[in-house]
Amino acid sequence: MALNSISMDIPEKQVTALIGPSGCGKSTYLRTLNRMNDLIPGVRITGEVLVDEFNIYNKNVDSVNLRKNVGMVFQKSNPFAKSIFENVAYGPKINGMHDRKKLTEIVELSLQRAAIWEEVKDRLHDSALGLSGGQQQRLCIARTLAVDPEIILMDEPASALDPLSTSKIEELIFQLKTNYTIIIVTHNMQQAARVSDNTAFFYLGELIEHGKTKKIFTNPDKKQTEDYITGRFG
């Protein structure tokens, strides 16, 4: 997937939704924000991504450190084949945290923030693979929070979930935005309208339009955006 000269501002501590038809480049764009695309052989990236005025594509930036600051939640929940506790503790541990007491605190806090603590507090040492799909996804969010990022990227985090789990995730996103900057890719128009403050519409690798969600959904500037939102194509 190729992207063409995308330029947009993403406000802090708000939810920005990236929408557009399949293959429009929104996931690829999302992955440039934590340099996940670096891992794909043959990829070529130009331009800059500024986080707090700082270009993350600067030669001196260590993509490993960057990813501690820019967390990511994937489309398919992907817990490790470890216990619930070890899943959440994974990030802090690889960053050199081995104090059991502190780890326990971080795990509990992260699970609470991801609104899954009550459901798992009595079985922290059971395998994470025994959780339901929706619980697994919230566990993955908790795992991301445990690293204490400023920005969280979410790549269609609810697309594989049932409506109840989806609404739980959406509620969670709403709570999280008080502390984190969230960028979410979604196929679901209603979801974008419900959870986001800003929306960006991508089409064929181009950023067609972006702005306040209310405006994009009620009175878009471009015809293409309006056609997509009203379901005339895509």
């Binding site: 891992l39 501690k68 994937f74 817990p79 490790f80 994974y90 990030g91 690889i94 993955c140 795992r143």
Partner: protein, 286 residues
């Protein structure tokens, strides 16, 4: 269909026939005592305990050498080498070639490289030329066998590293893990069963091979068990070979030969069977 069916029946018939002959020939000899005692009276009586012990010790030393080396090679090939780079192609080619080399060549290589070159060098440097390591022993035999079984380990581990889902690697990297941390904490634990399968297959192969240890460490008869890496050892496969070619009375030792063959067969069958089960579980898990 007719031809396929016929060849299947033929193959099964050959296997069954082989098993029946071996079992009938060896069943009277088989006993607890046979498995746990030393050979007696010019190896015409007694048991095969030193051969079982030697085979087990040899495959253990072999695994200690082959498994870490194989795992590291597999990690390099799957995670670090660019498929198009000449070095990756070279390693791949070497692994494939290694698995096609006749086993007697490994034996000769072991003799030339480990015994003459490495052992000879060690003796010159550390023992003032006195022959200590420049002779066949269990260490050189095990290392020679490790070379032979290395491709088995590499291929098996490579396969299981490939089966670790991309999602999990990405999850780890997205949490700020380095590539190496991701390999250690996510990829290798996820490949555990592949590593185990590779080890078992290597052990099963190594336990049965004779040619590589012929010049490098296997002994005709030893009154004591090996207790140092520089000792020679007795092995099941080699025992069968010498009993059937160099025994003082080949006909008299026939039951011992059959029973030894049966032990070796049971050992390799069991190991292969375990490997198949682990592998099918691995497939189901993904």
């Amino acid at each position: 269909m007719g031809a396929t069916g016929l060849s299947v029946i033929l193959i099964i018939a050959v296997i069954v026939l082989m098993l029946v002959i071996i079992i009938i020939g060896g069943k009277n000899q088989m006993s607890w005592e046979f498995l746990t005692s030393f050979p007696k009276e010019g190896m015409t009586k007694g048991g095969i305990f030193p051969a079982i012990y030697g085979t087990a010790l040899m495959v253990i030393i072999m695994s200690v050498a082959a498994v870490p080396f194989g795992v590291i090679t597999a990690i390099y090939l799957t995670e670090y080498a660019k498929e198009s780079s000449w070095i990756a192609k070279g390693v791949q080619f070497a692994v494939r070639t290694l698995s096609m080399v006749p086993s007697i060549i490994f034996g000769l290589f072991g003799l030339g490289f480990f015994i003459k070159f490495v052992g000879g060098g060690m003796d010159k440097v550390f023992f003032g030329g006195q022959i200590t390591w420049a002779q066949p022993n269990i260490l050189w035999a095990s290392l020679t066998m490790a070379l032979l079984t290395l491709p088995v380990v590499i291929v098996s581990v490579e396969e299981s590293i490939h089966s670790v889902p991309r999602d999990l690697r990405e999850a780890s990297l997205a949490l700020g893990a380095t590539k190496w941390q991701t390999i250690l904490k996510v990829v290798l634990p996820g490949s555990r069963s592949g590593i185990l399968t590779g080890t078992i297959l290597a052990v099963s192969r190594g336990a049965g091979e004779v040619a590589p240890i012929l010049f490098t460490g296997a002994a005709y008869y030893l009154a004591t068990l090996p207790h140092s890496l520089s000792d020679q050892f007795m092995s099941l496969g080699y025992h069968i070979y010498i009993m059937s070619t160099q025994s003082v009375n080949v006909d008299q030792t026939l039951p011992i030969q059959f029973a030894t063959t049966l032990v070796l067969l049971l050992l390799t069958f069991t190991l292969n069977f375990i490997a198949v089960i682990i592998r099918s579980r691995l497939r189901r898990a993904h």
